[in-house]
């Protein structure tokens, strides 16, 4: 979501030469046709730049955007925003304080520059601009966030399906107020205990594949409860002594019971927070509401985590293309363009794996390269491209191709669909197989004819959040028996859970569930149980 560079750009002084221009700015600019000159900005210039950029974006790139609200903030406020997961409003929690200290430290030590902007997926789309940015940078950031990200938020199917841009801010406002009221009524410690536990399960607090199931109506649930009560009241031990008709029926009877039980509870359930919120026997209504708030926030961010490469790629492609168009039309000066290019190349810097600066694949770099590659394939394809991408190669309409990709993919499917051999060669991708039992890595595939498919599949896989996060589900609970909550971890490729954090997280689940919780590790292929851990083994 945020452009980050290694400590940097905000001090760049490309525009310093034109200091005297400030007084006669309007005269100069209108004569030369430039949108702005010099590094200073004011609201009039920002607005003029925005309008010019928006006009080109709509006319040339056919972007479709939410209305924009630009907010100017200071570096202190940017740090504040960082620590509360980038949202302008957030409830209070100590962990945000911790993140703030961490970010502040990095910033002060010069380890990391601040983002030039932050953009919120809301309607109107809120873009934060740092006050320290030069005017050239503000123009760059406007194109990047106010148009690129904005278009992506409005059109990508994940965001359209899963998030409600117009409601998020008012929801967060409600959440903040609600949690503050809970703190007043029940004490900070009690609220913190619930929030801590819920935060631990945020990863497991999203629906990945479906909308939340329709709730059975209150009356239906009431009926079930009454029936259970009736059975309890009318329990008669005599029935037990009746002879069974056959041995087999008993077993199938309990099987049936389990199946029915699972059905009524909608099991298995991947969304642990949802399950706890709806079914925990020990939570008060306000505690359920807090869990719900955490769950909604987690769900809101879920699409963003699935579309990092695409989102940043789209925004970077948009700003790069728009800035060049502005420059070609003589709307920005060479000095400003140089500054923009310098910041642009900072942002898309990608060191090789053996470089000490390497810290994973830079989504800006990969995203931009893929977008430009699609543009190349549709305008000037090679024979290879025609083989690999018969439906887009040489169709000449790169705009529509890109708009279509932006609307209909997430990182995983996007890479699976569009990563071309040419780009793999350029990046010199390779696959390193890493088995924990071996003392060495093995190079499995490189960028050659045999490796393209594997590299592409592997890279796509690594962006599939559903596959790369531990898959943990609620499988069973006997509400009328010992009420032990049974979780199952599907172990893929023998990757187990880290034990200390697993135990700590189980303890959190126990807090929310109130009774014993057990987690079984099941091998996804063989279905055999690898180990089982329950809260009674952990201790407080």
């Amino acid at each position: 979501m945020a452009i980050q560079t290694s400590k940097s750009g905000q001090t760049s002084k490309f525009g310093q030469t034109s200091k005297p221009g400030q007084t006669s700015k309007s005269g100069q600019t209108s004569k030369s046709g430039l949108l702005f000159s010099g590094s200073d900005w004011d609201f009039k210039t920002l607005s003029r730049a925005y309008e010019a950029i928006e006009a080109i974006a709509i006319e040339e790139l056919h972007l479709d955007i939410y209305p924009v609200q630009m907010e100017i903030i200071s570096s202190q406020q940017m740090l504040d925003a960082y620590s509360s997961v980038g949202m302008p409003l957030m409830y209070r929690h100590w962990s945000f304080g911790k993140h703030f200290l961490y970010q502040e430290l990095l910033y002060r030590k010069g380890g990391r520059g601040l983002a030039y902007e932050l953009v919120i997926n809301s309607n109107p789309c809120i873009v934060y601009l740092m006050e320290e940015n030069t005017m050239a940078l503000q123009a760059l950031v406007t194109a990047h966030a106010a148009l690129g990200h904005n278009h992506f938020f409005k059109n990508n199917h994940l965001f359209r399906q899963w998030t409600d841009a117009s409601a998020i801010l008012s929801y967060l406002d409600f959440a903040k107020g609600y949690i503050a009221r809970c703190e007043e009524r029940h004490g900070v410690a009690a609220v913190e205990a619930i929030l801590d536990a819920a935060h631990a399960l945020m990863e497991q607090g999203v629906f990945r594949y479906r909308r939340p199931p329709k709730l059975s109506s209150e009356r239906q649930r009431e009926g079930v409860r009454e029936r259970l009560e009736y059975e309890e009241r009318s329990y008669n031990d005599l029935w037990r002594t009746l002879p069974r008709s056959k041995d087999g029926t008993k077993a199938s009877g309990t099987d049936l019971g389990i199946a029915e039980r699972k059905k009524t509870l909608n099991l298995p359930e991947e969304n642990l927070l949802y399950f706890l919120e709806k079914n925990s026997l020990v939570l008060e209504p306000w505690q359920r509401e807090i869990i719900r708030i955490v769950r909604v926030v987690a769900q809101y961010f879920y699409p963003q985590r699935q579309t990092q490469v695409m989102n940043e790629g789209c925004a970077t492609f948009v700003h790069y293309t728009l800035m060049n168009m502005l420059f070609d039309r003589g709307l920005i000066s060479e000095g400003a363009m140089l500054e923009i290019l310098r910041n642009h190349s900072n942002v898309i810097f990608q060191p090789g794996f053996d470089d000490p600066r390497f810290s994973g694949i830079n989504p800006y770099a990969l995203g931009l390269d893929m977008m430009q590659d699609i543009q190349r394939i549709s305008t000037e394809p090679t024979a290879e491209d025609r083989d690999w991408f018969p439906d887009i190669a040489g169709n000449g309409n790169w705009r529509e191709t890109l708009l279509d990709a932006w609307a209909n993919h997430r990182d995983e499917s996007f890479i699976r669909q569009y990563l071309s051999p040419a780009l793999m060669r350029r990046w010199r991708f390779f696959v390193l197989a890493d088995a924990a039992s071996e003392p060495h890595y093995e190079v499995a595939s490189i960028h050659n004819e045999r490796g393209y498919e594997k590299i592409r599949a592997g890279l796509a896989q690594s962006y599939d959040i559903g596959a790369s996060r531990p898959d943990i589900q609620v499988v069973d609970v006997d509400l009328l028996g010992d009420r032990q909550l049974r979780l199952e971890h599907k172990v893929k490729n023998g990757i187990m859970l880290e034990e200390a954090s697993r135990d700590a997280t189980l303890r959190h689940i126990r807090t929310l569930w109130g009774y014993e919780v057990s987690l079984a590790a099941i091998d996804a292929q063989t279905g055999g149980t690898l180990n089982e851990r329950s809260t009674s083994q952990i201790g407080e």
């Binding site: 430290l105 696959v431 023998g494």
Partner: protein, 436 residues
């Protein structure tokens, strides 16, 4: 046209609440780390910012995560230079990290800075002056004015202009006081009519009518005052009682020749700590510094901590000086009186008896609490450690100690003892306990 919002003027420190929550959570560990640091470093350092490392306990944010040392996985990396399929690459040394799956240092391992206030808060937590408010002083002695609405009477300095003018405006509207504009309009009309040379009968009549109207309005304006005494409102103040908690701390320090550099240093450190503590916790506490050799004098803070002086040792002079000052400035029925004394325990031969007399007869009656700290040699510490055996002053004060529950004494042999002794002397106690 986008909407612009300038947020730079918004209140700062939006995340301050989160920071406080975090510090509260990590309190115990932060406290320990600061105390350890100060025990080993300079005491005066407590009065500054401190960098502390992120406490491990209580601030973890666990979640289910994959164990790095199990299973099979793939890394897709850019920048292949010479690898071919099947090549083997040795794993970097244990610990995972290293070049390939580029791991960054965990967020939990960092240091952050606590402000001076936060450090002092953590440092002096759970400490307080015992028995702070004298029972017989619970009656109220002083008052502080506090706003309490409005009154119809009062002194002119307290007029509330806004209220007054609002009343006046309402009354003027209600009584239909003619406005200046109305008068002006009529006067203008009149002037125009009079300026015309020929005066016909209707015009003359009109002029007369207008004159009459003007006069009527002016009369009315005079009758209805612009601001009437009934409009006037005054700010009302209530005298709010302030509970009396006057406190004075006497710091008595021996600076005689027998106190070597080391002893003086330890004693000063003790008082620096005490001084900081009082400044931090009791902003209305007065502090009186008395230093003594064979004679005692009251000095200011600067002199007390930084001046050097030397001479013989007569402890009773300090006690007498304190008694004199109490009698002069701090009547014991109005003040909570505390004293802390530091000495190496040496005293003029017959003076210890005199000290006992003074303490028994006068000082202890006045004092809420008297703490005596004796600076001893490190070698002596294990000889004197537990016995009542000791210097002449120690033996003398032991007698006092047995008679008065509000007397405490302790020994300091090295810098590391200062803080524990300080805590022991000023620990928050429900009731001052004493094994008499």
């Amino acid at each position: 046209m986008p909407i612009f919002v300038d947020r730079r003027l918004n209140p700062k420190d939006k995340s301050l609440g989160n920071r406080q929550r975090f510090l509260k959570r990590a309190r115990e560990e932060l406290k320990r780390s600061i105390r350890d640091r100060i025990r080993t470093g300079k005491i005066a350092d407590v009065d500054s910012e401190h960098a502390v490392s992120m406490p491990a306990r209580g601030t973890g944010e666990p979640s289910f995560s994959d164990a790095k040392d199990s299973g099979r996985r793939q890394h897709i990396l850019p920048g292949n230079k010479h690898f071919a399929p099947g090549d083997r690459v040795p794993k970097p040394g244990q610990g995972g990290g290293g070049s390939s799956p580029g791991k960054t240092a965990s967020e939990d391992e960092f240091r952050f800075v606590l402000s001076r206030e936060e450090v002092l808060d953590l440092f002096f937590e759970d400490l307080e002056l015992p028995d702070m408010v004298k029972l017989n002083l619970k009656e109220i002695l002083s008052f502080k004015p506090r706003r309490a609405g409005f009154a119809a009477t009062g002194s002119p300095t307290n007029i509330n202009v806004g209220r007054t003018m609002r009343n006046s405006h309402g009354r003027r509207i209600a009584l239909r006081r003619p406005k200046q504009e109305e008068l002006d309009a009529i006067a203008k009309q009149l002037a125009i009519l009079e300026a015309e040379p020929q005066s016909a009968a209707p015009a003359r009549q009109r002029i007369a009518a207008l004159r009459e109207e003007l006069e009527r309005l002016e009369r009315r304006r005079k009758r209805i005052a612009y601001v009437d005494p009934v409009d006037i409102r005054f700010n009302r103040f209530d005298a709010q009682p302030v509970p009396n908690a006057n406190a004075v701390m006497f710091c008595l320090m021996d600076v005689s020749g027998s106190m070597g550099e080391r002893e003086k240093d330890l004693a000063k450190r003790f008082f620096v700590l005490l001084h900081l503590f009082l400044k931090r916790r009791y902003d209305r506490t007065e502090i009186v510094f008395i230093r003594h050799t064979h004679e005692a004098q009251e000095v200011d803070e600067e002199t007390f901590f930084y001046n050097t002086q030397s001479g013989g040792t007569v402890v009773s002079t300090a006690l007498e000086e304190m008694h004199r000052i109490v009698a002069q400035r701090y009547p014991s029925n109005e003040w909570n009186i505390y004293a802390a004394q530091a000495s190496d325990g040496d005293n003029f031969v017959t003076d210890s008896e005199r000290c006992i007399g003074l303490m028994d007869g006068q000082i202890m009656r006045l004092c809420q609490y008297f703490a005596y700290v004796e600076i001893i040699d490190e070698r002596e510490s294990h000889i004197f450690g537990s016995t009542d055996n000791g210097t002449s002053l120690w033996r003398a004060y032991s007698v006092v100690n047995q008679r008065w529950p509000n007397f405490q004494m302790s020994r300091i042999a090295n810098a590391a003892d200062i803080y524990p002794v300080f805590r022991q002397l000023f620990a928050r106690q429900p009731v001052l306990q004493k094994s008499a």
